[in-house]
């Protein structure tokens, strides 16, 4: 698969001018004309099948004959990568299942509900600081990024005194302006920190996630390093992603002031509004990568073992055959918004989705309640992460 065929188009995530919240327009053409089509991941990069329709996307993601193992030949990546086993999104069963099973209880709806009040408190504190500081402020730096990191600290059981350390290093991990070396240093520091914390909790257990990971180390399920990696993976999976959704959610709502009232119409209405924002904004703009382990068919297309697949979630979530002719509109009352696959689909579907939903339900209504005059600051421009795997604002200058 590593050959470059001049006839195969290079996959581009580039958005159209003036439409920063919409996926590239060309996906619409793919959905209509070539819903499963060969694309190249770049110059001299491998080719893969690009899957753009909702139904096909779900079929592929639910297929047990596709793998997420990025070391498997044919896995569609520009450069070869490896991940530790604790980053279990990139593991197939049974290793994936072993890690996921340990964590499912932590993200249960009722456990996440218990984090709603602490999340609201953390959010209020960040807003107080931002308001005290006065405009113009970068909302990403002030609120969107620290909030999920602090909530994950809470969930893991990172002591309050270490929050600043934890946050400083997690910020480096997702900073696009730092060197690879700086990132590696931050990653190692976080890994070592979490491993030490796991060892401490094995001696002095508390009611937190790190303690329960430590229990699995005691039970011989995995090593202390694996446990630390799981902690780092949860941070990686839940930090910048949620921050992006918060930032983009604010921007989408600023574009649709007529729909803001839906956030205050009741809990069910708020929940639907958040699902629609997840659908409309679908931050995973590089799609999900998979590799076929057996031959299988999707629609009329035969996929061969070893073929790479890119499942384009943001295209699937704008599929007009599912979300009607209004698929490209934001409609916070959309009755089937929940059918989106912004969290993926199949056995790897986002484990933290109840947490993400809760955070967005807490944050978005409160942002506009506390700052009804919120706007992008005059004379400033929003900067978007055009090339990142997860799309969102890198810089969101606001005044209020």
């Amino acid at each position: 698969m590593a050959t470059t065929d001049p006839g195969v188009p290079v996959l581009s995530m580039a958005r159209d001018e003036g439409a920063p919240l919409d996926p590239p327009r060309q996906y619409e053409g793919f959905r209509r004309e070539a819903p499963i089509t060969r694309v190249s991941l770049g110059q001299d990069a491998p080719t893969a099948w690009l899957v753009t329709r909702w139904e096909d996307a779900r079929a592929v993601l639910a297929n047990p004959e596709v793998s997420t193992d990025l070391t498997r030949p044919g896995y569609p990546a520009r450069t070869p990568m490896t991940m530790p086993p604790g980053f279990f999104l990139f593991q197939d069963d049974p290793v994936h299942d072993l890690f996921r099973k340990v964590l499912t209880r932590e993200f249960m709806v009722k456990r996440i509900e218990a984090l709603r009040a602490p999340t609201a408190r953390i959010f209020d504190g960040l807003m107080d600081e931002m308001i005290a500081q006065g405009p113009v402020t970068d909302f990403v730096e002030a609120v969107a990024l620290p909030l999920p990191s602090l909530v994950i600290s809470e969930l893991l059981g990172v002591p309050y005194a270490d929050h600043a350390f934890f946050q400083e290093h997690s910020k480096v991990l997702i900073d696009t302006t730092v060197t690879g070396e700086q990132k590696a240093t931050a990653q190692a520091a976080l890994g070592d920190y979490l491993e030490t914390l796991v060892q401490q909790r094995r001696k002095e257990p508390r009611d937190d996630l790190i303690t329960r990971l430590g229990e699995q180390v005691d039970a011989g399920t995995f090593s202390a390093r694996d446990a630390a990696d799981v902690g780092a993976f949860l941070l990686f999976a839940g930090h910048e992603t949620t921050a992006n959704m918060i930032g983009l959610g604010v921007l989408a709502l600023l574009d649709h002031p007529d729909q803001l009232s839906r956030l205050y119409a009741g809990q069910a209405e708020l929940a639907t509004a958040i699902e629609e924002l997840l659908r409309y904004l679908t931050i995973a703009q590089s799609g999900l990568a998979r590799v076929a382990t057996e031959d299988f068919s999707v629609g009329d297309t035969t996929i061969r073992a070893g073929d790479g697949l890119i499942i384009m979630l943001n295209s699937a979530n704008r599929d007009e055959t599912v979300f009607s002719a209004t698929a490209d509109d934001l409609d916070l009352t959309r009755s089937n918004a929940r059918q989106h696959i912004a969290f993926g689909y199949g056995i790897h579907q986002c484990l933290g989705q109840p947490l993400a939903r809760m955070e967005l339900q807490v944050v978005l209504p409160e942002v506009f309640r506390r700052m009804p005059e919120l706007r992008v600051a005059d004379g400033h421009e929003v900067v978007y992460k055009s090339h990142a795997a997860a799309y969102g604002p890198a810089f969101l200058p606001v005044s209020w």
Partner: protein, 65 residues
């Protein structure tokens, strides 16, 4: 309406619990699905159908007579 859940398939995404909390719950020990009502009343039908549709593991089966 008859509802069945395939417990070994469940991946604990929690979506059914959010959509139809009167019909589905999660086990305290691991978040795996618990079926509270295998023949829910008519007013639950839409929520149960939606739960089955969005379940990432296709672990919910609905049969309607």
């Amino acid at each position: 309406m008859q509802v069945e859940v395939d417990v070994p398939k469940c991946v604990a995404s929690g979506q059914c619990v959010l959509i139809a909390p009167d019909v589905f719950d999660q086990r305290d020990e691991d978040g795996i699905v618990v079926l509270l009502d295998d023949s829910p009343p008519v007013e639950q039908y839409a929520a149960v159908r939606e739960s089955a549709l969005v379940c990432p593991a296709a672990a919910i089966t609905v049969s309607e007579r």
